[in-house]
Amino acid sequence: MSHDNPLQHPEVQVASGRGYLLTFLVSTLLMGVALFLVTSHSVAPFGLMLALSLCAGLAVIVQIYFLMHMDLSEAQIWNTFALVLTIPLFILAIGLTAWMFQELYQRTMVMLPGMPGMLH
């Protein structure tokens, strides 16, 4: 690979207007659906959480693929690798924290019925 012209670099060449437009449409749509679900009160709380998480998850996956260009190509593999290595750590940090405090609150706080905490 010769990079005398930086514009020929694969990370520049990877740009794609269609991909960006698609991401914009899909993620806006998903956020709109999430908004609708919450404001219309049409789903029960547990299902709602699930649906919201699904919307967020899908939007993020689309963005990571089309916007961040995370894939297995030679130019991107290390970035993808680093991301894949750190995602479990995000999950551990948030998940274990949520779990331990949930357990702690159950033992130490008065949990008013009908006022669900965030993480139920």
């Binding site: 010769s2 990079h3 990370e11 919450v38 405090f101 905490g117 965030m118």
Partner: protein, 212 residues
């Protein structure tokens, strides 16, 4: 591995020194390091979300206002549109860069800058109104977590806008040198990543906050 067998090796057949003139790839070295930084930045957000998770039980609001009282989801969706629009504009900037189109890059940057500023203006307006209404980070642990998380994201946006201004100057002054292109690439990582973070902020702070 090495000391197992010592059968003679023909010195002329081994390559001891590198004369291949391999250039190391300056641009991807740069973006890789920046991406590592972004991941550590993402970890900052992850931990702020963890803090929000712990401090968003009903008792965390100490009897004061809870998000359901003050979050305007439609307004937050407007912010979503502004930010996603800005990200899209930056995407078109990158397409123009790919084609070596300087005017396109400049106008794309302006587009991203204006939409990003719109996002920030919406955010500031929202915060000012909340503060006026006595809904402050000092009111309760839950509100502290709410404000700090959302405003940390806003601070990133401010930083990105400043960066875009610098790039506007550098693109018009230096053109597409390796340094400038490298910075455009890292700014792309930075800016597009803010959209990812915003998805979580919008869904898990604004929308989910309404359910507490």
């Amino acid at each position: 591995m090495s000391s197992s067998t010592s059968k003679a090796i023909d010195p002329s057949s081994v390559e001891l020194w590198d004369h291949s003139h391999h250039h190391h790839d300056v641009l991807s070295t740069r973006t890789f390091g920046f991406w590592l930084y972004m991941l550590s930045d993402a970890m900052i957000f992850a931990l702020l979300f963890a803090a929000w998770g712990v401090l968003s039980y009903s008792h965390s609001f100490a009897g004061g206002p809870i998000p359901a009282d003050f979050v305007k989801p439609g307004y937050a969706f407007l912010q979503t549109l502004a930010l996603f629009g800005s990200v899209l504009a930056y995407g078109f900037t990158m397409v123009a860069l790919k084609n070596g189109n300087k005017a396109g890059v400049i106008s794309g940057l302006w587009g991203a800058l204006i939409l990003g500023a719109a996002f920030l203006a919406l955010d500031i307006n929202d915060v000012v109104h909340l503060l006026d209404a006595g809904i402050t980070p000092q009111r309760s642990g839950g509100l502290s977590a709410f404000f700090i998380l959302t405003q940390t994201h806003a601070l990133h946006i401010l930083f990105g806008l400043l960066w875009m201004l610098v790039m506007l100057v550098q693109v018009s002054r230096f053109g597409f040198t390796t340094e400038v292109v490298g910075r455009m690439l890292t700014l792309r990582l930075f800016w597009h990543f803010q959209a990812v973070i915003w998805v979580f902020v919008f869904v898990f702070v604004y929308l989910r906050g309404m359910l507490i």
